[in-house]
Amino acid sequence: MRLSWHTPDCLRHLIGMAALWLTMCSVAFAHEGPPFPVLMDEPIPGYRVSVWADPDIGTGKFYVVTESPNSANSPPEPQVEVWVEPVSKRLPKVTYVAHREDVRNWMQFLAEPEFDAQELWNVGIVVTAPEGTPHELQVEVEATPPGMGPWDLAIYLFPFLMFGGLWGVGLIRSWHANDRSNRKDLAAKDDSQNNDEKLEVESSSSINRRVQSGGTHSGSFSSPAFGGRVT
């Protein structure tokens, strides 16, 4: 069977592959992923604090955004620290300083605590205003593995490889079919040209005249709406 985009079977296969791919995507939800908000607009004196967390096993990331309570103007820069400890208390509390990031439109701090195992962790965010009063917020997060590693690549690239193969074969076949069709057209034109020449030779013996074949894409017509010729 000639593979063609127009072939319904081909379309059905592609739709089937897309469905398979979507099915595979759905298994990967859960807690891992890009940073997600664990605190949003929590009020403390002088600030509203939001925290985005990416608690991967190994080095996790905590983004702390501090805004003024009324959003009117930017608040004075506080000192921000993040501490972590397992909920099970098997390890002591460790504190990390959060460094201010170079962000234009708001004040954002990044801390990178270490997590050694997949379990629940207590996380404390300590915001100290310039006048020196510390305020603490606490959340509980689960540290998760950063991903499945090379298997991810193999599993999620597979549909792309299949689609790429089908598409590539389709393109090549389509172009070859075009070439064959063009060659047939040319041959047909040559035949009719030869017949014309024979007729001309027979009728007037003028052997120097040759019939020129024209292009298929040319042509135009006049349309006042476009101010002249439309190609």
Binding site: W5, C25, G33, Y156, L157, F160, G164, H217
Partner: protein, 506 residues
């Protein structure tokens, strides 16, 4: 009254009607096809998008100015961009079809008929190239992704520009010559599997009215007893406003999927038909409304901006670019950002393409002993970069979309809470995000890989047409350019982009 050249509309079910040649035609799909054939389907799609745009504008100016909590910033830079490229990948240019910027001008045109023609000197792609580069530059300079206010200003500016240009100038001048998003969509749509095109060319050969481009005129309009000319009658259904004459239209370039040609055709001979993505890029010859791409410098420069802009836009969001900017600042002593950014843009959009494309063209010319000028060779081969460029945009925008798709839920809930003081949509579920990076990263590589494959295939095809005796000699230099760009894109994807999913880090 005598009316010249009028053809009766074809009834559905006529022997000439579509579907006879076995092509997949979206307009023949039950329900969806019927909806798209409905004359007001475009307006029906535009209205909700217009309302959404107004909501975004309001939230941009009066909502929270922290971008991840603002609907304007989130919808524009995560959802709109992601959905545009994905819909282009699996369908066609349906976002131009639902473009809300056209509604105000449609309304205005009911009262004021535009009287000017777009200036001849600007009937090319240069105005839109300048706009596209301008938007990319402003995006970096003003950190538009992180600024709801500036995002809102951009949307308002877009509405104003589309309204002003299309109420002053005839036809779809804004779409064809100015709109940077439109140009992006046109180039991307070359990789789409659907195209608005003629179902049966033989029917067009016998057509005498050419309504698909001239529009359908009201033959019942009162005009006395004198003989009239059809083109002077009032138009009841306009034809293609982008000057694409269906029988000679090739591919999706310049097509906004407005379906005016579908509604105007008296033979019901135009459909939204399936085709192989990228196939049109290897085509030669004249295209209706566009001309010959092999001789059109504007399209070539637009293509270069599309491809190299994809790399630049992705690179500008990585950590190394901040280091580079600081280094440039240290060397030059500059303390303001725009000249430094200008230097990066100069390198990324002018110097780098000039070196890569110029070298490839020179080597092609030397190896093939071609008489074609270097610029002619670049015009011919630049199109082969479009699949890879689209792959880079897909990988980039797809990343933001897939990792942040569900963030729209808590942001909407929060907006509702702030607007009404009540949790009408429930308490914001801030934990909602999207697919994990470990899933999205392979998908990014997959999109890039497909782009690489498409570019190499199109390049081989063009090389075979350029030099049928020894296509390898023409193919090799361009394949080196394509692979260089692919490797660069892969490198950029591996660079740290902290908080990209929630775009706090851009």
């Amino acid at each position: 009254m005598t009316v010249l050249d009028v053809e009766r509309p074809l009834e559905r079910g006529d022997p000439q009607s579509p579907g006879a040649n076995g092509q997949f035609d979206l307009l023949e799909v039950p329900l969806l096809g019927g909806f798209l054939r409905w004359r007001w389907s475009r307006t029906f799609l535009q209205l909700p998008v217009l309302l959404l745009s107004l909501l975004m504008i309001a939230h941009a100016f009066f909502g929270p100015q922290l971008a991840p909590k603002n609907l304007a910033a989130l919808l524009t830079w995560v959802h709109f961009r992601g959905l545009v490229v994905l819909v282009l990948l699996v369908g066609g240019n349906f976002f131009c079809m639902a473009c809300p910027f056209m509604l105000p001008r449609e309304l205005a045109r009911r009262f004021v008929k535009p009287s000017w023609r777009w200036p001849r000197i600007l009937r090319n792609k240069w105005p839109s190239i300048i706009c596209l580069v301008g938007v990319l530059f402003a995006y970096e300079l003003f950190d538009l992704w992180g600024s709801p206010w500036w995002t809102g200003a951009l949307i308002v500016g877009y509405f104003a520009a589309a309204f002003a240009i299309d109420t002053a100038f005839e036809r779809a001048s804004f779409c064809k010559y100015v709109c940077p998003v439109g140009q992006f969509n046109f180039l991307s749509a070359t990789m789409s599997p659907l195209e608005v095109k003629v179902r049966q060319p033989d029917v067009c050969h016998e057509c005498t009215t050419k309504d698909c481009i001239r529009g359908r005129h009201d033959v019942n309009a009162p005009c006395g007893d004198q003989t009239i000319i059809l083109s002077e009658l009032p138009i009841i259904q306009r034809g293609c406003e982008l000057a694409l004459f269906q029988p000679r239209k090739v591919g999706n370039l310049d097509c906004t999927f407005c379906l005016d040609c579908v509604y105007a055709c008296p033979h019901d001979n135009i459909g939204i038909i399936a085709r192989l993505p990228g196939e049109e890029l290897a085509g030669t010859g004249t295209r209706s409304g566009i001309g010959n791409l092999d001789k059109n410098a504007g399209w070539t420069v637009l293509t270069a901006v599309f491809v190299f802009g994809a790399l630049l836009n992705a690179f500008a969001m990585t950590s190394p670019v901040y280091v580079l900017e600081q280094e440039i600042s240290r060397w030059t002593g500059l303390r303001v950002e725009w000249p430094i950014l200008g230097m990066l843009f100069m390198f990324g959009l002018i110097i780098e393409p000039a070196i890569l494309l110029g070298t490839a063209a020179a080597v092609t010319q030397y190896w093939t002993h071609s008489k074609v000028t270097m610029w002619g060779i670049i015009n011919r081969f630049a199109r082969s970069l479009i699949p890879l460029g689209f792959g880079i945009w897909l990988a980039h925008y797809g990343f933001h979309f897939f990792t942040g798709a569900l963030t729209i839920i808590p942001v909407t809930q929060n907006a509702c809470r702030m607007a009404f003081g009540l949790d009408l949509l429930g308490k914001p579920m801030w934990q909602m995000g999207g697919l994990p990076e470990s899933v999205v990263y392979p998908m990014e590589l997959g999109f890039l890989g497909l782009g690489l494959l498409g570019s190499l295939l199109v390049c081989w095809r063009i090389a075979s047409q350029f030099n049928s005796q020894a296509p390898t000699k023409a193919f090799f230099p361009w394949s080196v350019v394509i692979i260089t760009l692919f490797v660069s894109a892969c490198w950029i994807l591996t660079q740290p982009m902290d908080m990209r999913g929630t775009f706090l880090g851009g």
